[in-house]
Every structure is written in structure tokens, then in C-alpha cells.
């Protein structure tokens, strides 16, 4: 995983604990991952911004960023990958900003989904379609 210098700084200052997902399970499904994160709460729309390219310049390293003010945790999923779990970021009370950025590998065109858990247990969700294309014919 590559964290940009600026993002690394903001992560450092915010005191964010970062945990990669693989420990959760092997190839958990989207539904299982969602259920485990939300605890059954229905995700709403709202105070969460997912930034991802419309078309990936390189499907092997796609920059994505999630900003969810007030979140205690953010989960990032790649719905079309063999292993949809990408990462879960948790934020302690000293975090200055609830923001996370990383680069992910996408096997094919798919929806990238970000969910944020608020202090009261409510969930907000954002998603973006990222196209992975063979390209080559721009005029």
C-alpha cells in the first residue's frame, strides 16, 4: 500500500489506527462484511465523501479517498474483487479529521463502496463506479 506524503502526515497527526482486513475472514462476501461492520443498521446517505477516478489509469493501483466527518470507523470495499475487503480505518477521539486515503487494486470495472460508522452506531454509505478499461483510442 502506498500512502502519499501529505496523507501520511494527516494520518499521523490525526492519530488514526490503521488495520488491514485480511484477519477478518477468508473471502468474506459483501453481505457478510457489511453485516459485520454495520451490526445490522441500514446504511443511509449523508455525511460521507468517496473520491475515486471514474476510469482507472492503472487498475493495479487506484487512488481512493474517504472523508466522513464524525466517523469512528470507515470500511472500504471493492465489490468486484475476489476478496472485496480492502481496509477498515478506525478513528480515536484525538483524531483531527476522519479521512483516509489509499490505493487499491481493482480486478475489473466495479463499484467501490465506503461505509462510515458514527459514534451513535448509525451508518452512512457512498459508492462510485470505477471503470477498468483496456483503453487506447482517444481522439
Amino acid at each position: 500500500m502506498t500512502i502519499t506524503r501529505r496523507k501520511a502526515l494527516s494520518i499521523g497527526l490525526g492519530g488514526i489506527a490503521f488495520a488491514a482486513m485480511p484477519g477478518l475472514s477468508t473471502a468474506a462476501t459483501m453481505d457478510e462484511l457489511t453485516a459485520a461492520f454495520t451490526g445490522g443498521a441500514t446504511p443511509g446517505a449523508g455525511n460521507i465523501t468517496l473520491t475515486a477516478p471514474e476510469i482507472a489509469e492503472n487498475g493495479n493501483t487506484v487512488p481512493v479517498a474517504v472523508d466522513a466527518p464524525g466517523a469512528v470507523a470507515i470500511m472500504l470495499l471493492a465489490s468486484g474483487n475476489p476478496e472485496p475487503a480492502v481496509a477498515t480505518f478506525t478513528f480515536g477521539p484525538a483524531a483531527g479529521r476522519q479521512f483516509a486515503a489509499t490505493r487499491i487494486r481493482l480486478a475489473k470495472t466495479q463499484d467501490v463502496i465506503a461505509m462510515a460508522k458514527m459514534a451513535d452506531g448509525s451508518i452512512v454509505q457512498a459508492q462510485a463506479t470505477v471503470k477498468v478499461t483496456i483503453g487506447g483510442c482517444g481522439g
Partner: protein
């Protein structure tokens, strides 16, 4: 804010002057006498600031033929909206008389006959005359180049863009943005940019490693007591549509949130006007205009559309100035109290037989060509058919190119990229080496020879079709459909990716393409590093020399539905 009256004044130059004229009744001479430079340039000055926009010249320094598309299918909300209106429907929409000079300049019908009547279009020496005239009338003006300037001719290839750079510097461009410029490679782009007397803008060009802005995002001009921010937006899909290995240091993308951030930044600085000099493509700009607030004018490029009137999206006007030097847009603005109060616009057609060349610019262009003149002008054959490229599917130039690839590289199927650049030739024209370069010139023109399964070929076609016909403009890259030789197919543009392409057939045997079977395939303009093969212009030249006279039959190999 924008009155209906001002909007109505925003029509193509000649249309107020000329009504219907009988098809084919005018000789070239009559046309010259009837259409005058004064009439083409006539403009009632308006407001206090003028923007002059030219874009997608594709290195065409000399006047050319350029046939506008017969097919420009709009999908989703763009269906039936400019620029997705062609031919007679376009003429009706903008009240252009059939066979008039405007019909010739803006639509494809009767192109060969009207071309003989009205002559070639463009030429940077004619553009220089127009720019000088506008500047004389409007000292408070800004000349902006939308990019795709340094690529598309033999001279630009041989000089690595330098001939175009010299010409645009002499023209007095004040800022530009970019696309094909990058196919010269990072090192050459940097070398040119360091010497440019104006900024090379791109708010969406980022350092690929650090994800930080890498080029100047905007420039603030001070004219007429106003402060005008010009924000550059480079072609968003640079490393996808063109070889990313040539400029691996940079990342592009639409970066809508970045555009909003930059607009907010210049607004906070208190500018009076915000202009976006964009290479997004028309539909992408139209969507961006609806989602990013605070842009007054988008000077749009990339998709090569010439639209005689500005298109309004909320409080933003979109100006589409065509390609290949065929048009220059003049946009007069009334800017007061930090607001755009009104505009008057004219898409000025550059009829090369009507507009007097600027002598200094003509001399400069000839000097740039002089070292290569013999190579450029060598006649290789003649065409009996109209040769053109532009259009969503096929095109006679590409039929000829695909024939050349199949014959010279001994393959069953040929692929040719659906780029929108490339000048036309009329029946009876000689074909020179320069003419071949005008439709092939690039830094990655190697013709590969490989094998692909039927399934792979379908995947390629589906992928490219989705870049054009995805109903969300942000997923459109702005080219046309890949051209194919030796194979037919059907395309339902209304379907999603994976379901548009059907009825693939190998033409020589009329057999259906078998997904599991391998076919020999030749093509050019691969974005992959290390592609090997002869250059496409040499392949086409060899083919034309053998033919002597080019004669192309109508190509019925593609069936399009879902329009």
C-alpha cells in the same frame, strides 16, 4: 443574466448574410466574390472583454479539407442535443441553408461538391489574419489554445512539435492546455513548456507518485481593468487513451472536486470572471458545468465539435470551436461588478480562399516546411473516392488504412484507432506523403501483427464502444469506434457494455467469428510499450503505390442499431 436577444446574436458569421443558394450553382470564383473577409469578420463590438478560442488544430498549418461527421450519436441525456446532431437536422436546428457556405463548413452533405465550390478551410496564416483583426478591434482580448496542437502532421512529427510551437508563439497564444502534446513524452513536453512564453495550464495534471498538482492550474489575466482567471483542464484520460508509459510521472482524471476547489480559490481572490480552458470533450464539459459552480465560460475542446451558438448550462456558457483550424471563436463579454452580464459570440469559419493570409505567418509556415518540402509533397497516388475519417463508425480513410494493414501485414483482420483527427481528400485529389501523415502521424505508429481469439476481439470492441456510448459522459473518452477491416459486426448503442456487439463475421468467408478460435490481427497506435512493426504511414504508402489509384466501395460491414 443572459438575454434572449444576445443569445440570438450568437450565430454563425455568414448566416445572417446569406440565405439559400442553389446547390452547385456557384463557381469557386463566385463564392470568393460573394463571401468577403469583412463579412466573415463583421462583429458589433459588445461589452468590455473578448475571448478568442482555437482548439484541436492537430498541427494543420495549411488549409485542408475536413468533412464533419455523418454519425455523431448521442446517448442518454445527450441524445438529439448538439453536438449530436448532424447533416440536415443540424442545418434545420441552426437555420442553415442547404449548400450554403455554413452547410459546407458545419455538415457533411454534398461535401465533395461544396468543397470544390467553397474551397479548403483553415490555415494558420488565415487564422493569424483573423486574430490580428479581432485584436485590432478589441485590445482587451485573450487568445486561448485548447490543446491538441503539436500532433497530427508530418512536420510536427519530424520537428517533435516545434513547427507548431513556433507558429503558435508567433500567433500570440496567451495560455494553452493539452492532450496529444503528451505523446511527445515527458522530457520533450517539459523542454517545450520551459521555453513557452505563456502558461501550459492543467489543474487536473497531478504528480502520479505524490498525487499533488504538477502544473500551473490557472493564470489570472488583468485586462480592461478586470481580473480574469483562466483555469486549464487537460484531457482527463491521458494514460488510458494514449500510451501512459510516455508520461508515467503524471496522473490526470476529471477531478471534479479539484476543479471546484480551484474555482473557489480564484473566486476567493476576487476575480471578475472565471474561464475554463478545457480538453474534457463536449459532453464531459456539459456535465461538469452542471456540477461545478462558479465557471462563467467553458471553452471546450477534444471532441472536435463546431457549434454555431453557445450552449447554456445554468449560468455557464459552453463554446465549441471545431478543429483543424477550421474555426476561430470570438466571444465578447460584458463583465461588470464581478459578474458576466452578457455575451455576444461568433464562430468564425476560416474559408481559406476568402481570408487573406497574414504574410508574416505564411512566411513562417513555409520556412518550417522548407526542409521537408520534397518529402511532404511527393505524390504517391490518386484517389477517385472521397477520403474522410470523422464519424462514429468506419470512414473511407480508415477503410483504405485497414486494407493496407491487411494486405501489407498479411492478416485476416485489421484494427485502426477511432481518433477524430485527420484531414479529408476530395475525389480526383493526388495523395501525397503529407496527406497520409495527416491521418496517421503519431509517436507510436508501429503496426503490430498478432493473433487474437474471437472473444478478445469482442472484448476490444465492447470496451471501445463503452468509451463512446456509456450514457454517463464522465465515462466517455471522446474518440470514435475502433475501425475494423476484414470483419463485420453489429452494434446496439443502447445496450450496456458486453451486450452492444453482435453478429461478428469474417468477411472473406462470411463465417461467424468463433469466440475460441484465433485470428491474425494487425493494427496500429497500440498503447503498449515495446510494440514492434513498421510505421503505419510506410505501410499505407506501400499500399497506395501498388494501387496507383484508390477506389473504395461503400463499406456495409457495420450495422448500427439502438439510436
Amino acid at each position: 443574466m443572459i438575454t434572449r436577444r444576445e443569445f440570438l446574436q450568437a450565430s454563425l458569421a455568414a448566416s445572417a448574410i446569406y440565405g439559400a443558394s442553389g446547390f452547385g450553382n456557384w463557381s469557386r470564383l463566385a463564392a470568393q466574390q460573394a463571401l468577403s473577409q469583412d463579412q466573415l469578420l463583421q462583429f458589433d463590438d459588445f461589452g468590455n472583454l473578448t475571448l478568442i478560442h482555437i482548439t484541436d488544430i492537430h498541427a494543420q498549418m495549411k488549409p485542408i479539407w475536413f468533412r464533419e461527421p455523418e454519425w455523431n450519436i448521442g446517448v442518454g441525456a445527450a441524445k438529439g442535443q448538439p453536438p449530436h446532431v448532424v447533416g440536415r437536422a443540424f442545418q434545420d436546428m441552426f437555420k442553415i441553408a442547404p449548400a450554403s457556405p455554413e452547410a459546407y463548413a458545419l455538415t457533411y452533405e454534398d461535401f465533395a461538391a461544396l468543397g470544390r465550390t467553397y474551397g479548403r478551410m483553415g490555415g494558420m496564416d488565415r487564422v493569424a489574419t483573423v486574430v490580428k483583426a479581432i485584436r485590432a478591434a478589441r485590445p482587451d482580448s485573450i487568445l486561448l489554445d485548447g490543446g491538441d496542437t503539436w500532433q497530427g502532421s508530418m512536420t510536427s512529427l519530424l520537428t517533435k512539435g516545434q513547427d507548431c510551437v513556433n507558429v503558435m508563439n508567433a500567433l500570440g497564444v496567451e495560455a494553452m492546455t493539452s492532450h496529444w502534446e503528451w505523446t511527445l513524452g515527458t522530457e520533450r513536453v517539459k523542454e517545450i513548456v520551459e521555453a513557452l512564453p505563456f502558461p501550459f495550464l492543467g489543474a487536473n495534471i497531478f504528480d502520479a507518485e505524490w498525487d499533488e498538482p504538477a502544473f500551473e492550474p490557472y493564470k489570472i489575466f488583468e485586462k480592461a481593468g478586470l481580473r480574469i482567471a483562466v483555469i486549464g483542464q487537460a484531457f482527463p484520460y491521458m494514460p488510458i487513451a494514449n500510451p501512459g508509459w510516455m508520461f508515467p510521472e503524471y496522473s490526470f482524471g476529471i477531478r471534479e472536486e479539484r476543479m471546484q476547489e480551484v474555482v473557489d480559490e480564484v473566486r476567493a481572490e476576487g476575480v471578475d470572471l472565471v474561464v475554463c480552458l478545457s480538453h474534457n470533450g463536449f459532453d464531459v464539459d456539459k456535465k461538469m458545468a452542471a456540477r461545478v459552480t462558479g465557471i462563467d465560460v467553458i471553452l471546450t475542446g477534444h471532441t472536435h465539435d463546431a457549434i454555431p451558438e453557445p450552449v447554456l448550462v445554468g449560468q455557464t456558457i459552453l463554446i465549441a470551436s471545431g478543429s483543424h483550424g477550421k474555426f476561430v471563436s470570438r466571444v465578447d463579454l460584458d463583465v461588470r461588478d464581478g459578474k458576466m452580464m452578457g455575451f455576444r459570440h461568433k464562430l468564425i469559419p476560416i474559408f481559406s480562399d476568402v481570408i487573406t493570409p497574414d504574410p508574416d505567418m505564411a512566411a513562417l509556415i513555409d520556412a518550417e516546411r522548407a526542409p521537408f518540402k520534397a518529402q511532404l509533397e511527393e505524390q504517391l497516388g490518386t484517389t477517385e473516392s472521397l477520403l474522410y475519417r470523422r464519424g462514429n463508425f468506419q470512414g473511407t480513410w480508415d477503410d483504405l488504412i485497414c486494407d493496407a494493414v491487411r494486405s501489407e501485414r498479411d492478416v485476416q483482420i485489421a484494427l485502426s484507432p477511432g481518433v477524430r483527427w485527420g484531414a479529408s481528400l476530395l475525389p480526383g485529389d493526388a495523395i501525397t506523403r503529407e496527406d497520409i501523415h495527416n491521418v496517421t502521424s503519431m509517436t507510436y505508429g508501429q503496426v503490430y501483427r498478432t493473433e487474437m481469439t474471437g472473444e478478445t476481439i469482442k472484448t476490444v470492441l465492447e470496451d471501445v464502444a463503452d468509451n463512446i456510448f456509456n450514457p454517463d459522459p464522465y465515462y466517455q473518452q471522446g474518440g470514435d469506434m475502433v475501425r475494423i477491416g476484414g470483419m463485420g459486426f453489429a452494434c446496439d448503442v443502447s445496450k450496456p457494455i458486453g451486450e452492444r456487439i453482435s453478429d461478428m463475421v469474417l468477411l472473406e468467408t462470411s463465417e461467424a467469428i468463433d469466440a475460441a478460435k484465433s485470428y491474425t490481427v494487425g493494427g496500429w497506435a497500440s498503447v503498449n510499450e515495446g510494440t514492434e512493426g513498421p510505421q503505419i504511414w510506410d505501410v499505407v504508402e506501400a499500399h497506395i503505390r501498388k494501387l496507383g489509384t484508390v477506389r473504395l466501395d461503400p463499406n456495409p460491414s457495420v450495422t448500427v442499431t439502438g439510436i
